[in-house]
Amino acid sequence: MKLRTTKYIVKEGFINTYRNLLMSLASVGVVTASMIILGVFLVIALNLSYNTQKLKEQPQIQVFCEPELDDEQIRTIEKSIKNDSRVKKYTYVSKQEALKKAKEMLGDDQDVVEGLGDDFMPVSFIVELNNLKESQNVVSAFKSIQGVGNVRYSQERIDFILNIATWVQVGNLALIIILLAVAMFIISNTIKLTVFARRKEINIMKYIGATDWFIRWPFIVEGVIIGLAGAAIGFVAISIVYGILWGKVAEGVNIFSLVSLGEIQFNVTYTFVLVGIGIGAIGSTISIRKYLQV
């Protein structure tokens, strides 16, 4: 396509959007509403997966050695953990660290352990697995290692995380697909009105030898303008509301933490730009198809 044709097409797209100002504004309103709904889902999805990720990253399995083991025996245990292919990484917790943690936990009642050496504290390993689903097997394997006193691990918690992670992935995908389809349907219907109002012009263009693409492009530009305008307004709305929400939540301490506004904006921006262009373009292509058959 030649540059002058591109210029013509873009200019024509803007002129048409302006010429049908009321209709364009109505369409922008519809897109904005769809974008806000999409944005809400996106924000929920991002926060859920962020929190799931955080939960996952917390140590789940802690292997305690018997307190009376000597260094050599502890190294043997460490080796079997290290060599287990299911283990992603592990951390060594020394007796001193264990005592320090215990003191921290006791807080004001530290004097209970005052004077006690760290000798009675067990050495332990905090283990992270490659795949949480293997927890059950790994735990029983560790329990049977010579010199291991106890393995602490919470089945319910791991199962819970696994459930949420799966649910979030599947649920979000489904919701977003449905939402995109709905938004596209609405936009294509709105642009259908524009196309319908101008069907005679399309017809005339065909008669004097315009190619389908030459006719189609200005409508696509129009659809993209509407899509992007709706996306921009939706973006501002989502940003403001999320900003307020984030401020409120960040004040209190919570087990559930929110993704930062910046990260939300980044994700919302590129999603909205892609979706805005996508639904605008596909929507107008669908609605003009019928009128090109001359």
């Binding site: 065909k206 004097i208 315009a210």
Partner: protein, 235 residues
């Protein structure tokens, strides 16, 4: 220039609009197509434009085998022709100048060429002064002249007009027909489907008469009606 070879057109509802038509038009000719309403005149022109496809037979236009043309090639066939319709078919949101220029824009013509050709075309139809007016502000005759300027701006070898004066008063009709004749004089082949008996009779051009989808008369310097037939009818 234009050739119909054993062309039959049956519409999907079963109407046979053209029945085994054979026709040959040479370069530079001027031909009227006449016939009663529903005789198949517009259908012939639609086949030339590939708005419709023949049920049987072949149509050749400007070196294109129209019946074998792919959908993607249709715009190029249409650019090689000029078309004028009864209802003008101008773009209402573009000025006279823009309407004419548009026919060149779609061919991706150079802006320099457009600035040169459009005023020439408007001058030819005598509308230079109305270049910046919108079609809605023009009389029917003026609108038809804009349509004619648009049809001619790409210098087509063939001009097709389907009842170009159908919506115009007799005097304006004459002006349009004279313009068509002038265009033909400059070398463009012209085909006009019309009901204008007086004009056909006095212009003494080739007349192709069609009745119920069949060519019943093809006459150089012909008349709108067959005199012998008239005699029989009125005797």
């Amino acid at each position: 220039m234009v050739e119909f070879r054993s062309v039959t057109k049956e519409y999907s509802n079963g109407t046979v609009a053209l029945n085994d038509i054979n026709l040959n038009l040479d370069k530079g000719e001027f031909a009227f197509i006449v016939g009663h309403s529903g005789s198949g005149k517009s259908t012939m022109l639609k086949l030339i434009l590939k708005e419709e496809d023949p049920t049987a037979g072949e149509v050749f236009v400007n070196g294109y085998n129209v019946s074998a043309l792919k959908r993607k090639e249709i715009p190029y066939l249409r650019r090689s022709l000029g078309v004028v319709f009864q209802d003008f078919r101008l773009l209402p949101n573009k000025t006279v100048y823009e309407n004419v220029a548009f026919a060149m824009q779609i061919t991706e013509a150079l802006p320099r060429e457009i600035r040169r050709q459009v005023p020439m075309s408007l001058a030819l139809v005598g509308l230079s002064k109305k270049a910046n007016v919108y079609p809605g502000q023009l009389s029917g005759g003026e609108q038809q002249r804009v349509a004619l300027a648009r049809a001619l701006v790409n210098n087509p070898a063939l001009l097709i007009a389907d009842e170009p004066t159908g919506n115009l008063d007799p005097e304006t009709s004459w002006e349009i027909m004279k313009l068509l004749s002038e265009v033909n004089y400059r070398g463009t082949t012209v085909i006009v489907a019309t009901h204008e008996k007086n004009i056909v009779d006095s212009m003494k051009k080739r007349v192709i008469a069609i009745d119920k989808g069949v060519i019943v008369r093809d006459q150089e310097k012909g008349q709108y009606e067959d005199e012998v037939k008239n005699y029989k009818v009125y005797s």
